[in-house]
């Protein structure tokens, strides 16, 4: 979703150390992005339940303010990498919703040509580096993106997302040590939705809050309220500024909640319906909507119109995905090797 309003674009290329006040159009754009993601996920759910989307499908409902808020303070050429609950990060980075939905359907028009699926979205032109399926495995990769950004003198930064379950993986701690040791421009974002699959944080992770894990590395740490997009923006901006101006990493813990199961195959036996209903009352989209109305930036009607537009867009993406062709069988042999230019005689045969 490229920002149509030039003011939004300007906000995205800001390099000062103070988070600038958003213009009304920019606030409405954030609302639109969150609503777009909610509708996209609802459509994905429908596709899964009707058997058109296969495999694992991890939905983002409830967590929208995290991806939208944090990515909104980046420059367009900063890097983003995340785990397998990745639809929202791609959309917030500006990926085409049609290509994202087509990927879920496994179609050749998908953002990974039908080879990645729900867990492996990629859009490198938008500086979105995936979509990774092994818990915590993307964190060393993200650290390497930041390493290369610094090595090449780009003045860019990387946001590397993980769930709260990932924080107990050795890969995460090894990467954080390297980032602190080598002063890399990276922000590690724990999206703490309180459950690693079906295991609550109290049953999986010693030491509260999770930001304490940064202390051992003398790394900056900050918590944010993931239900409040303004808080997510303010805290992420602090961390991004530290990365960009001082080349120092930060560990962020953003408290959030997912309404749906870990994936679409979740029996939901580990938490009560009451708990979910209570938490749904603290919805990030509703909170922001109330704020926009209170600030008289928008009216109920104008926001409803945005909602309807987003629903129509999700439906259009669904229709596009459904109508798209299956990949030809020959494509199974494509995308394995990068063509060689320095040793052109080497043509690996993989048939």
């Amino acid at each position: 979703m490229p920002a149509a309003d030039p003011a939004v674009k300007n906000a995205k290329t800001n390099t000062s150390s103070r988070l600038p006040e958003l213009q009304p159009a920019q606030k409405i754009e954030l609302f639109r992005q969150m609503v777009q993601i909610r509708h996209f996920e609802e459509k994905a759910k429908q596709g899964f339940l009707s058997g058109k989307i296969k495999g694992f499908c991890h939905l983002y409902n409830g967590q929208e303010a995290v991806a939208v808020g944090s990515i909104s303070v980046l420059n367009e050429d900063d890097a983003v990498i995340t785990a397998y609950r990745d639809h929202a990060h791609a959309l917030a980075r500006g990926s085409d919703a049609n290509a994202c939905m087509a990927e879920l359907f496994g179609k050749i028009t998908g953002c990974s040509r039908g080879k990645g699926g729900s867990m492996h979205f990629f859009d490198v032109k938008k500086h979105f580096y995936g979509g990774h399926g092994i818990v915590g495995g993307q964190i060393p990769l993200g650290t390497g993106l930041a390493y290369a950004q610094k090595y090449l003198g780009t003045n860019r930064v990387t946001l590397a997302y993980m769930g709260d379950g990932a924080i107990n993986q050795g890969a995460v701690h090894e990467a954080m040590n390297l980032a602190a040791l080598w002063k890399l421009p990276i922000i590690y974002i724990i999206e703490n939705n309180e459950y690693s699959m079906g295991t609550s944080i109290a049953r999986s992770s010693a030491g509260d809050p999770l930001t304490k894990r940064a202390g051992a590395f003398d790394m900056a740490a900050i918590q944010a309220n993931g239900m409040d997009i303004d808080d997510v923006r303010a805290k992420t901006f602090e961390a991004v500024s530290l990365a960009r101006t001082e080349s120092q990493p930060t560990l962020m813990e953003i408290k959030t909640y997912r309404y749906l199961g870990h994936s679409m195959s979740d029996p939901g036996t580990y938490r009560s319906k009451d708990e979910i209903e209570t938490r749904r009352k603290n919805d990030p989209i509703e909170i922001y909507k109330a704020r926009l109305l209170e600030q008289k930036i928008a009216t109920e009607e104008s926001l409803n119109a945005i909602d309807e537009e987003a629903l129509a867009q999700a439906q259009a993406a669904y229709d596009f995905a459904e109508a798209s062709p299956e990949p030809e069988l020959e494509t199974v042999y494509e995308d394995i090797w990068t063509p060689e230019d320095q040793i052109p005689e080497f043509q690996p045969n993989h048939r």
Partner: protein, 324 residues
């Protein structure tokens, strides 16, 4: 032509490639200030500085994943493992990320990276430090696996590997670092995926790699004295496999012995044997024979370890068995 050790040949390759391309950097445990655990990177810190010759903590998962991420962003890292045995700690990063991220992204990403270090047994360092894991990596689509046996190939293949735009596993042999031989000066590239006939013969073909090529050559000398003529093919690259060179030799000798240091079950030799019986069945005068390490963890005791490895005596006996 200058005579260099295998170690010096590798060092020359690294140095030349780093001079040629400043996106190439070397990262690993003790590669910089210590000059390398096996001295392969000797002098490189002085020459290229700490930005490009980087000592890492003992943290294989962390620095391997970091290097893969850096490759995804356009650098061309060389990652050194003190021994390939330690790569088991970061197997996930190599298999799931280096080898698969291009495919999973529908071709959006490239991973121009070389993983290299020592491997193999025979130095009494016990089961955890003696792995010969080329077949484990050769089983992963998109990974190129190289195992040089001689200094000229060590140089030429490492230079080619660094120039590849794809992930390469480059397995050196701990016992060969001090081996001396002629190495061409300057620009010397060895083609990846091409085997080499290291000794011509007419009675039987041995296909081998790395340290086993030297065992095969030694055995061939012993057998020559007994009037048996053995052809020895050094595979050099395990994957992609150069079947054409193997086939040309088998068609000539009609007998094949495979010598590999891998443990027996599903080693690369099993793949060679399969392809030979499938495509050259009528050319064979005897069943294909395959000599591997014994199917036991590597023992520390020297006598036991030599018994486990496919040593010269076992090679000689196996050749006679095929010719019998």
């Amino acid at each position: 032509m200058p005579i260099l050790t295998y170690r010096e040949a590798l060092n020359e390759a690294l140095s030349e490639e780093m001079e040629r391309d400043d996106r190439v950097m070397l990262m690993g445990e003790e590669v910089a200030e210590y000059d390398g655990a096996y001295k392969v990177s000797k002098g490189l810190l002085k020459k290229f500085g700490p930005k490009r010759i980087i000592d890492t903590p003992i943290s294989e998962t962390g620095f391997t994943g970091l290097a893969i991420g850096a490759a995804m962003y356009g650098l061309r890292p060389v990652v050194e493992y003190m021994t390939w045995s330690f790569s088991l700690v970061c197997y996930d990063q190599i298999v799931n990320n280096a080898a698969q991220v291009r495919y999973m992204s529908g071709g959006q990403l490239s991973v121009p990276i070389v993983f290299r270090g020592s491997s193999g047994g025979g130095l009494q360092v016990g089961a955890t430090h003696s792995h010969t894991p080329e077949n484990w990596y050769a089983n992963v689509p998109a990974l190129t696996v190289i195992t040089p046996a001689f200094p000229d190939d060590a140089k030429g293949l490492l230079k080619s590997a660094i120039r590849s735009n794809n992930p390469v596993c480059f397995l050196e042999n701990e016992k060969l670092y001090g081996y001396k031989d002629e190495v061409p000066e300057g620009e010397h590239l060895t083609e990846i995926g091409k085997a080499k006939v290291r000794r011509e013969g007419s009675d039987l073909t041995i296909v081998s790699n790395s340290g086993s090529t030297h065992r095969a050559l030694n055995a061939a000398k012993i057998l020559e004295a007994e009037g048996i003529s053995v052809e020895v093919i050094d595979l050099r690259t395990i994957k992609p496999l150069d079947f054409a060179t193997i086939a040309a030799s088998v068609v000539k000798t009609n007998r094949l012995l495979i010598v590999e240091e891998n443990k027996p079950f599903a080693g690369w030799g099993a793949q060679v044997a399969y392809q030979v019986q499938r495509e050259l069945f009528d050319d064979l005068d005897a069943p294909v024979h395959r000599l591997t390490s014994l199917d036991v963890p590597q023992p520390y005791n020297g006598r036991l370890e030599q018994y486990v490895l496919p040593n010269e005596e076992r090679v000689v006996a196996a050749v006679k068995e095929v010719l019998a």
